[in-house]
């Protein structure tokens, strides 16, 4: 079966866009988690000043639209003589925004670990480092995994905003073709299916990880 030139061009563009989307999502997800862990720890265990800083960071990035953050990075920073490439602006925005949400889950997970768990470990003679490594982290991961995974799923969808700062990923590539051929319904339905596939894969992987880590008493809900 031969595809019509329109579809040939469409899928070529969309596949190119898909690669770009993945190139946006993976570093952003990893960076977001790292920042989230860092900020989450500060917000859970830091002293007054540090905690306020962490909370302020989270409140700002959770309280403003991602598109505003991207506009500030891409269109705003040049006012200060700072020029970011579309890709750099998008990834920076995604990491900072995602990190703020991730820190919320990490903080919640850390705070949900009861005092008794620390006491139990101390009483057996665990050092602080051993307690963190063998007791706190395994429990925190299980409490945070569902929220953090969902945040990555959000990130997959919101990676479409990179198009707005002219980083041509899935949405941007598709929009170009749709405008050129004036075939919006088909093109955007197909783009939607691409995202559904990405999201469904992520959901599946997340579920597998959650199952693998499942321990009675730590389930989600």
């Amino acid at each position: 079966m031969e595809l019509s030139p329109f579809y040939q061009e469409l899928f070529e563009s969309l596949n190119r866009g898909l690669l770009m989307s993945v190139a946006l999502i993976i570093p952003s997800a990893l960076g977001g988690i790292l920042i989230g862990i860092f900020a989450g720890c500060l917000r859970a265990f830091g002293n007054g000043l540090v905690r306020t800083l962490g909370n302020t960071y989270a409140a700002i990035f959770r309280g403003t639209p991602l598109v505003v953050q991207l506009f500030i990075l891409y269109f705003g920073l040049p006012n200060l003589g700072l020029y970011l490439s579309p890709y750099a602006a998008a990834v920076t925005g995604f990491i900072l925004c995602s990190g703020a949400y991730q820190s919320e889950y990490i903080r919640g997970a850390l705070l949900s670990i009861k005092r008794g768990q620390y006491h139990g470990a101390q009483a057996l003679g665990f050092t602080t480092l051993q307690t963190i490594f063998w007791i706190i982290i395994p429990q925190a991961i299980r409490r945070a995994i569902h929220g953090c995974g969902n945040e990555i799923i959000y990130l997959i969808k919101y990676s479409s905003l990179a198009y707005i700062v002219t980083c041509l990923e899935l949405t941007g590539e598709g929009k170009t073709i749709a405008t050129e051929y004036f075939r919006f319904t088909e093109v955007f339905t197909i783009i939607g299916l691409y995202y559904l596939a990405l999201v469904s894969c992520a959901v599946l992987i997340l579920k597998k990880i959650e199952q693998r880590l499942y321990i009675p008493g730590f389930g989600h809900k």
């Binding site: 700002i60 403003t64 505003v68 905003l161 919006f184 955007f188 559904l196």
Partner: protein, 227 residues
């Protein structure tokens, strides 16, 4: 610096008008979502297999496709294709309403399932009809437990509404962009827009939190409902 402030001061009334438009989008989308969400939740819990499948497909689609793509699909695609000449406002309201509806469906489904079965039975035992039982016993309870999750939805929809400028809705972002393209004060103006959104987000969350406390009934909690 002083020019930035002057530009912001000049543009502020114009931007704040945009926040009225944004507010209108958010409120109507939340109401659409509430209606769709409750219907979908009832369909998921009490519906026959066909209804359940259809509702499931709706939820899956709207939770899996980015809002930006949905806006393009509906505004430039489907509505035009169907010959519907919807304004940007109507289009955004429908798209955001259906999106939050898909999430609200799960919120209400969880709330319905968390109600003890005895509540419905007790209502029937008093001689209430099904409709009466739902209106005066079930709904007051599920709406109460759903407020925290609802406040979360509010903050998401508010932020998503900032994408409406891509189809030309004159909300905060569209106006900020317009002024920025004329004054070249991008940084200052987008920060100003950010501040407006920040206040709208946390202001709304605060009000919903107050509401939650106000309608709170002792012994009622949303354990496991809020993320």
């Amino acid at each position: 610096m002083s020019t930035s402030l002057a530009v912001i001061a000049d543009a502020l009334p114009y931007l704040l008008q945009g926040s009225l438009f944004t507010g209108a989008i958010v409120v109507s989308a939340m109401l659409v979502g509430l209606l769709v969400g409750i219907l979908a939740a009832v369909g998921m819990v009490y519906g026959n297999p066909v209804t359940r499948f259809l509702v499931g497909a709706y939820v899956w689609f709207f939770r899996g496709v980015p809002v930006l793509v949905l806006l393009f699909l509906f505004y430039f695609g489907l509505f035009a294709f169907l010959g519907l000449n919807f304004s940007a406002f109507t289009s955004v309201t429908i798209v955001l309403g259906l999106t939050t509806g898909a999430y609200q469906a799960n919120i209400f489904k969880g709330a319905i399932l968390s109600l003890p079965a005895g509540q419905f039975k007790a209502a029937s035992a008093l001689g209430m009809s099904n409709g009466q039982a739902i209106r005066s016993i079930v709904l007051p309870q599920i709406l109460r437990i759903s407020i925290p999750a609802w406040s979360n939805e509010y903050s998401i929809i508010l932020k998503d509404s900032a994408l409406a400028f891509v189809i030309g809705a004159p909300e905060i972002m569209a106006r900020t962009q317009f002024v920025a393209s004329r004054t070249y004060q991008h940084l200052a103006l987008y920060i100003a827009a950010g501040v407006i959104y920040f206040l709208l987000t946390w202001g709304g969350v605060l009000i919903l939190d107050k509401l939650h406390k106000y309608v709170r009934i002792p012994g009622y909690s949303h354990q496991g409902m809020n993320k």
